[in-house]
Symmetry: C2
Subunit: 254 residues, 2 copies
């Protein structure tokens, strides 16, 4: 494993790798991804209610009928659980409430259908939305006919309506990502899928949202361990990949 | 919330708390607990197999019939999952395998009964054992008649047999802890329960194990947020408490 971003550190690692070392590279990956994508950040405040929304990557096997915030089973076994736990630990003085309402298979229009109950009713101060991989993927596998323009228009409308209903809400947009060459993700994905990533980034900027550059993060992580170490099918993260995402999410908090 | 350990930083925090700040205190809590207890540490190596063993605190709702390492559901929703995920992320170059075989309600003799299948057969290079709260608690609630001497003798024998079967194994002993005044934990626990903590610490030293000073960690965390923020019943950690434990566990890795 090499450290790829800092010539000084690279020299240090080369020396140290005679022994153990080199695990230093990972935090570097997340900060390098942020530096490269100039992603925005948010600030947490006391009593913030934090809501994670998205598809299976966010859902991660959570118990759908568990309604309490800060509950292990309600947060699932993925990045939302990991990032949420770290927030509760690190900001013990802030009385945070953390929810996860991701649902497997969701596309953006399916978020919209359940937005009243699964977002607005919870009155989040921080809303994290990661959606889009199914909006593309299901055109290959499920005869879904939505295009990137539908995705962009629907997500734009959803974010706009949310800001109107919950003035002052802090938005976090997670970039849809895929790791090429692993199982589900082949040449048929490109270049079309890249347009969904761009749309998410442009909407983040347009809505003043923080943006989590997951694609860049996973691309860079692939230099530390093979892609399949981070995602077993090109779309869903492994445990290591989920923790990578959690670190990337947490880096969006100033 | 105050930062309690560094006069310089305390001054800084006092200034900064006019605005936001103060979440800095938590990492300080873990390192201060280690400094105070002079706990030993371990070093990870490539291909290490890491096994978490213990009671309900370790179990944390894991899926008992899921046998694969590095599996979200097999690791449960507690500190073992959190620490394991961070290890897999941070040491992506080491090809680690992480297992959790904690079982709710276990006392040390119950670990011994299932040790062949749930420890030795997995051939761990790193074994983390956190056991003891039930060895005491069940004397109050379940007519269990084991004493601290039984606990010490059984745990000593278990660790000795493990080192014999798996030479070179790196041991991590987690201190049994309780937070006084919260639900299950009342005056009846003291001073007897403290003897179990001391026994675990002495056995860690005798067996050359790293020792995680959870009691000191939770005591200090109580200065950052009320005890019930970290453990809802005095024994089982909340999500914030689990992440606190994970950070304490990770601090045992050099």
């Amino acid at each position: 494993m090499k450290n790829l971003f800092n010539p000084f550190r690279r020299r240090f690692i080369r020396k140290a790798s005679l022994g153990a070392a080199a695990s230093l590279a990972l935090p570097g990956i997340v900060s390098a991804a942020y530096a490269e994508t100039k992603a925005g950040k948010i600030t947490l405040a006391k009593d913030d209610v934090i809501l994670f929304q998205g598809d299976s990557i966010t859902d991660a096997g959570r118990k759908h009928d568990e309604a309490n915030p800060n509950s292990s089973s309600a947060l699932g076994g993925g990045y939302a659980f990991m990032a949420g736990s770290e927030l509760l630990y690190k900001h013990a003085d802030k009385n945070l409430k953390v929810y996860n309402k991701g649902i497997s298979g969701n596309k953006v229009y399916q978020l919209a259908e359940r937005w009243e109950a699964d977002c607005l009713a919870l009155k989040p101060n921080v809303l994290s939305v990661m959606i889009g991989v199914n909006d593309f993927w299901h055109t290959l596998t499920n005869n879904y006919t939505g295009t990137v323009d539908v995705y962009r228009k629907d997500l734009d409308a959803l974010l706009g309506a949310t800001k109107k209903a919950l003035p002052g809400i802090k938005l976090v947009i997670g970039e849809p990502f895929a790791v090429k060459g692993i199982k589900a993700v082949d040449d048929k994905w490109y270049p079309t899928f890249d347009a969904y990533r761009r749309a998410a980034k442009e909407l983040a900027a347009a809505h003043g949202a923080a943006f989590i550059p997951y694609q860049t993060v996973f691309d860079k992580a692939g230099q530390a361990a093979p892609g399949v170490y981070w995602t077993y099918d090109g779309v869903h993260p492994s445990l290591a990949g989920s923790q990578l995402m959690a670190h990337a999410w947490l880096a969006a908090v100033k």
